[in-house]
């Protein structure tokens, strides 16, 4: 068993024990006619603060605060523990009261965005590696621009050398759209092969109207289009891996703010 799996196993076991302890304590408070929600509420807040500390750890890399990998394990398992404590605290999936409903919605969205991010980070790196190329995200617009220039130069050369404008017109009609910016974003996100099918179709529909010389240019153009498609995939998947945090983190911040207000209100009016 590798280190990461061992670490996850240990943290899962620890989380299970914590939750077991909390359940027992919850039962005990209930038997003694206490308020178990006070107990679970403070536990939930504590776990949420701990989860939020991961972001702080990322911002202080110069400090010896442990490996980010360990933090991520604690964060992922801690997130599941927080969800379980939340259910224990609220008593059901859909609490009563507008404010509590808003809290529940934010909690579910935060949990879902976290789970989504976890799986994105597990699956997408493999898909990117399978493209056989590696490109830095910030340089992708530049790379696409280079490919577009090459494609247009190729089409112009084809028209110039063969004295036919069939490929040129086809480029203007369809491929120009493809080379202008990253395309098939949604299809790449969901792992669809739509872009490949589209590119093959663009090749097929025009090939029968070309002579041998023009077909050589079309072959080169198709190669450029394939490169562009791989770069599009990088753009989409790398972008998704960066942007999911723009959903998860603001949701977390909103949840924390509402939770503190909830704590304040509960302490002032209910306890």
């Amino acid at each position: 068993m590798n280190l990461a799996r061992t670490r996850y196993l240990m943290v899962w076991l620890a989380a299970g024990m914590v939750f077991d302890l909390l359940l027992a304590e919850n039962r005990s408070v209930r038997v003694h006619l206490g308020n178990p929600r006070e107990l679970t509420g403070y536990w939930l807040l504590g776990v949420m603060i701990f989860l939020a500390l991961f972001n702080l750890r990322k911002r202080l890399p110069m400090l010896p605060l442990g490996n980010a990998a360990t933090w991520l394990t604690l964060h992922a398992v801690g997130g599941v523990l927080a969800a379980a404590i939340f259910l224990l605290h609220s008593g059901n999936l859909w609490p009563g009261g507008v404010y509590e409903k808003a809290l529940a919605v934010l909690s579910y969205l935060t949990i879902l965005s976290g789970i989504g991010g976890y799986f994105i980070q597990r699956i997408y790196p493999r898909l990117l590696t399978e493209t056989g190329i590696e490109v830095i995200y910030e340089r992708i617009p530049l790379r696409i621009g280079e490919l577009r220039q090459k494609a247009e130069a190729l089409v112009l050369e084809c028209c110039d050398q063969t004295r036919f404008d069939t490929l040129g017109r086809h480029y203007l009609d369809s491929l120009q759209w493809f080379f202008s910016r990253p395309r098939f974003t949604f299809n790449h996100i969901v792992g669809s092969r739509r872009s490949q099918q589209w590119l093959k179709q663009q090749d097929t529909v025009v090939r029968r109207y070309l002579n041998d010389d023009e077909r050589k240019y079309l072959d080169d153009l198709s190669q450029l289009a394939q490169q562009k498609d791989r770069i599009d995939l990088h753009y989409t998947l790398q972008g998704a891996m960066k942007r999911w945090l723009l959903v998860h983190v603001p949701l977390t911040v909103a949840l924390m703010v509402l939770s503190f207000w909830h704590l304040l209100v509960v302490n002032v009016y209910s306890l």
Binding site: A69, P125, M241
Partner: protein
Amino acid sequence: MSIAHFTRPQRWDSPFDPEMGESDIASLMERPLIAAINAETFPDNTPLAGILQNDTRIVHYKTGDIVVREGDYGNSAFLILGGKLRVFVDDYPDALLGRDTTGKKGFFATISQIWNNSIIPEVRDTEKYGSQTVRSADGRETRSRKRKDSNRVFVQDIPAILDECRTAEMGEDEIFGELAALGRIPRTATIFAETDATLLEIRWQGLREIRRFDDGFRRVIDRRYRQNALLVHLRETKLFAKLDEDVLGKVADATLFETYGTFDWQVSFKRLRSSGKGSVEHEPAIARQGEYADGLLMIRAGFARVSIEYGSTQRTLTYLGAGGTFGLGELYAAWQSGISVSHGASLTALGYVDVLRVPAQVLEEYVFSETASPAVESIAVGTRTLAEDALLEWAVEERFINATKSMLIDLTRCVRCDDCVRACAATHGGNPRFIRHGKTFGHWMVANACMHCTDPVCMIGCPTGAIHRSEIDGTVIINDETCIGCITCATSCPYNNIRMVEIKNRMGVALVDPDSNRPILKATKCDLCYTNPGGPACLRACPHEALSRVDFRRGALAEGDLS
């Protein structure tokens, strides 16, 4: 097709010092060490006078100037023409050599980075440069860059140094530095000028030619090597470890010294790689497959490729580094059977290789007859597929075998979040010391980060010794205070892992040299966060454990498992 005529470049088109005149040569010829060299034995196209004219230069050192530093790599030997030098016998303060003396950061220093880090990258406290013990070769204290080798570190208080440290005197006509220059090994001592001194600096090419053509000079150099290093080296070799001193002395006397490849191999390597060509066909052969083994080949420095003929080229079986041996199995089999046995594989130089050749008859007489069957590492030929060996082939071809701490990224785990880059920047004044991009093989990427090489060619030629190995853990580091921005290290690095940066003062204003009107540059590279508690920030910052620092060791490569 039209052609243009162009004279083929010759070896001595770029003399070491264009100002070496006839009177200098005549004066050098009268020096005892050089007068003893038999000029008649040199070929017409490489005369002794030509070597002196083109491969040497006369260098003047001011009192206190450090000539060579312990641990540095150099490609020259020195002959003292005038003045007195001192060699440190014992320990001395590191700061004396212009080296970084920064230790691990304490708790407060670590925490204070949070508010001390400037938002403008590459900001320096320029006041600390005032204390650097660097001056120009003409003695004028300066920070400008006139010539890349014109600045030197100097010892400031010689009487105090002589009081505090044990030193030995060196006088006229003594030669030093030849073993490090020929053997591509670090200098073993630090030598500084006690008085103003004049030295003849002989670059390694000239040194090699003199040693090659003059028996007397070769004997002097070889004797010094035998006395100083060979016996120790042999004693540390498992095969000879049990021999008594007399026999070991006989083995040492019979051992031959050979060098293959060029000292500045990184230049041709870079050219080859940029042209996309393989290098094995261009590597100097040390032993060829099918030739009879006439001696045990021991690698003393550098790397050599073991390969067999395969298809239309060579297939790499393994590689040998310092301490590796080649041909022992064949020699032992030949001794047992009485029939000559040929090499089953070829051995070629990967860059610059320093080889010791122990003749077969010496082994038969003193070693094989006295010891049990030597353990010979067998190389399984034909039992592995090309795919299984592809990683090894790639690592050798790209010279990643030189790495001790290569930054390896598993692309199937890396989420391209750049947390590693940000962590590096946060611990290095706002600018990362590596690029998360590099050569890929399958799902592995070797990022452009300093690999802390076994054979650090970047250290050769640093005029101030700013780039050096940390004595604590061997990490290759740069002392920012003594770096003069000459770009020697950056251009030498075969892997393009050293970057020159334009520095700014604490106000964030770019610094410009008033003489040249050019920005002040500093060399920067990964230093494994050697001052930071907790180790490399990049490693700790990766949440997915995609990043590791790897020693491209042979075993892991053969197993195809780098993680």
